[in-house]
């Protein structure tokens, strides 16, 4: 559905590289996640694919159309929800929706089935001005507007940024249901924990892709043993771990520190635990764990910078 080949774009006459040589494919009916922090190039990529920007070099097709030559066809077949809330604040919910419906040459009734699931949640407030909606409701309205013309491909630029954990989960549930309607979805997010909700993901940092695969394949490619450790004195534990010669990396993950070790034998780890106990750490918990996307991201990032 989306094919990207060697796409490169820079700003300020080449001084700031936004994306470099991106190549990937998104299959029909897939939920594809672009996962990366702010400034990784996600927005630039989405803007190029939605024909809002021209690339410096490289090529891409969306829904079978060339992003440069056939931009008009693309504009008819994609839906786009920018990162910033981009609806008319002084128009009501209903007015916004019907406006975008006519702009795309359709009516609310025609595609009501597609948006019903989402729109029905905000329909009780249809006479309210968009500017007075809560964050979660604004987001639902924006999504309804982006879907109103039944696009083939939906681009969602950081739809969950600044949204609380509960609304984020709800939002992802909506995306799963949209997928079942046959819409291809490209979504970007800085939250690593959302990766597991995508069919395939691309980890992106500084304009380059670190890894593309299914979330499971990305984590199983971690390639070494990962351990979780906690004690009662987390601050000193971190200092002790970082000064230890066996520890390769140590990163905080919730209540645990995630460790990789230079020597993964049982002997080496029990030696490490012994030395920690000697330093006064009590009720130590230590176990091997399966890596998460964020572990992989951190690892790929540090490998990239070395």
């Amino acid at each position: 559905m989306v094919t990207v080949e060697n796409l490169t774009k820079s700003y300020s006459e080449g001084k700031v590289k936004a994306i470099t040589n991106l190549t990937f494919r998104v299959n029909e009916g897939e939920v594809f996640g672009m996962i990366g922090p702010d400034g990784a190039g996600k927005t630039t990529l989405f803007r190029i694919l939605t024909t809002l920007l021209l690339p410096d070099s490289g090529n891409a097709q969306v829904a079978g159309f060339d992003i440069q030559k056939q931009y008009k066809n693309i504009r008819e077949s994609v839906g786009y929800m920018p990162g910033k809330f981009s609806l008319y604040q002084d128009l009501t919910v209903e007015e916004n929706l019907s406006f975008f419906a006519t702009v795309f040459g359709t009516t609310i009734e025609q595609n009501y089935a597609l948006i019903k699931d989402i729109y029905s949640q905000i329909e009780p407030f249809r006479k309210r001005k968009a500017g007075q909606l809560s964050g979660g409701m604004k987001q639902k309205l924006a999504l309804s507007c982006a879907l109103i013309h039944r696009p083939k491909v939906l681009f969602l630029d950081e739809p969950t940024t600044g949204v609380d954990a509960v609304s984020r989960k709800e939002f992802w549930e909506m995306l799963r249901r949209l997928k079942s309607q046959g819409i291809t979805i490209l979504v970007s997010t800085p939250y690593m924990d959302e990766a597991s909700l995508c069919d395939r993901i691309a980890l992106i940092q500084n304009g380059s892709i670190l890894s593309i695969n299914t979330p499971q394949a990305v984590t199983s490619a971690f390639g070494e043993k990962l351990f979780g450790i906690k004690s009662e004195m987390m601050y000193t534990l971190q200092q002790d771990l970082r000064s230890s010669s066996v520890v390769k990396s140590c990163n905080a993950f919730g209540e645990f520190y995630h460790l990789t070790l230079k020597d993964t034998s049982d002997d080496a780890s029990s030696a490490l635990l012994r030395s920690l106990k000697e330093k006064g750490h009590q009720s130590l918990e230590f176990e091997e764990i399966t890596p998460k996307i964020e572990d992989c991201f951190i690892k790929l990032m540090s490998e990239g910078s070395n």
């Binding site: 803007r47 939605t50 024909t51 809002l52 920007l53 021209l54 931009y71 008009k72 504009r75 008819e76 994609v78 786009y80 920018p82 910033k84 809330f85 981009s86 609806l87 008319y88 604040q89 002084d90 128009l91 007015e95 019907s98 406006f99 975008f100 006519t102 702009v103 795309f104 040459g105 507007c145 982006a146 013309h149």
Partner: protein, 368 residues
């Protein structure tokens, strides 16, 4: 077509929901004219004038008394000669000087025609114009009294001179000037701001991604401001007729047609500005610098173009409001028809066409 209509509807929502701006758009011209009107009537009561009476005969005295007796004028002083007039004006208190030449009455009796000189301080042009009108009326009044029962009518000819500002020849320039200004504000600034606002909001991004033609985005932005401008033209003209007693001498239809062309020119300018600006502040600033200031300074509204240095005179030719101002002045005050203003109209049309093409060509179908 349905798309365009729904777009226009949305623009109207924007305009009508922003009550404060709307009030300003409609209130501004009305407030201006009313203030101007009050300024006019206040000034005109008991304006101080000086009289130089070389004739000192029956007629000159009668006219002077008539003038003094009217509520409009107060004779401050009789001067002994021309040379004192300048000084009287410099004091700032005196608005006008009335000069009767030697043998005023005998000229009138023997040749049936006499001249009276009126010198007005035209640094305050509007007052000066009104005052000269009043004094002409008083003189005509006196003249018709003399003419009762005579076969050959007597004629007293006031020779009016506008001191300090002779080129303006006493025409009412406020209304045409204000029309140009108001349209600049509404069409250029408001259009520019409303397009840039969509950029700032991010809605332009969504619109660009839609199959909706960019040209229609622009057209629909034009409609509300075009209508508001035309409504303002109407309110200005109505107030000017009924409140200020300054009716349009020429064809109203022609005046509206010209206004329409000028509005289109301004809208295109606004569009161009919006393309070049990224924030509402920039749009506002450029609008002020590129349109409002030239309208004030180079259209002839505030300062006569003939007195400007040559480079400025040349530059003034590319200011659309200059041409609009010239045309409206002719239609409103002189009552000119199309045959006398076709050249200026053609220039204005050319400008509109040029700006329309340039702005449509530079309109971006992408973000950068």
């Amino acid at each position: 077509m349905k798309q365009l209509l729904s777009f226009i509807k949305k623009e109207f929502y924007h305009v009508f929901r922003d009550r404060k701006t709307l009030l300003m758009l409609f209130g501004l011209p009305i407030a201006q004219i009313i203030l101007f009107g009050f300024a006019l009537t206040n000034e005109i009561k008991n304006a101080k004038i000086v009289v130089v009476d070389y004739a000192k005969d029956e007629a000159s005295r009668q006219i002077a008394d008539k003038v003094d007796a009217s509520t409009y004028f107060d004779i401050d002083k009789y001067l002994s000669g021309h040379e004192e007039i300048e000084e009287a004006f410099r004091s700032g208190k005196i608005k006008m000087a009335l000069i009767f030449p030697d043998h005023f009455y005998s000229d009138l009796l023997h040749t049936n025609k006499a001249q009276v000189q009126v010198i007005a301080d035209a640094s305050d042009l509007n007052t000066a114009t009104t005052l000269t009108n009043y004094i002409s009326n008083i003189i005509t009044d006196y003249q018709s009294g003399l003419n009762k029962g005579t076969t050959i009518p007597y004629r007293i000819v006031p020779e009016i001179r506008m001191l300090y500002n002779p080129q303006l020849k006493g025409e009412h320039t406020f209304i045409p000037g204000m029309m140009a200004m108001i349209m600049m504000i509404i069409c250029v600034m408001m259009t520019a701001i409303s397009i840039v606002r969509e950029k700032e909001l991010g809605t332009m991004e969504i619109l660009l991604v839609s199959p909706f033609k960019p040209i229609l985005v622009i057209l629909s932005k034009f409609v509300p401001y075009l209508l508001i401008s035309l409504m303002n033209v109407t309110s200005i003209l109505l107030l000017s007729k009924f409140f200020l007693n300054l009716p349009v001498q020429g064809s109203i239809v022609l005046l509206y047609a010209i206004s329409f062309i000028f509005i289109i020119t301004s809208l295109c300018l606004g569009l161009l500005i919006s393309i070049k600006s990224e924030s509402q502040q920039t749009a506002m600033f450029i609008s002020l610098m590129a349109t409002l200031l030239p309208t004030l300074l180079l259209s002839g509204f505030m300062f006569p173009i003939e007195n400007m240095p040559l480079p400025l005179q040349i530059i003034s030719n590319i200011v659309p409001s200059k041409w609009f101002y010239v045309i409206v002045k002719s239609i409103m005050i002189k009552g000119s028809g199309f045959q006398t203003i076709w050249k200026e109209t053609l220039i204005l049309c050319g400008m509109a066409l040029f700006l329309l093409i340039v702005s449509l060509r530079s309109f971006k179908i992408r973000l950068a």
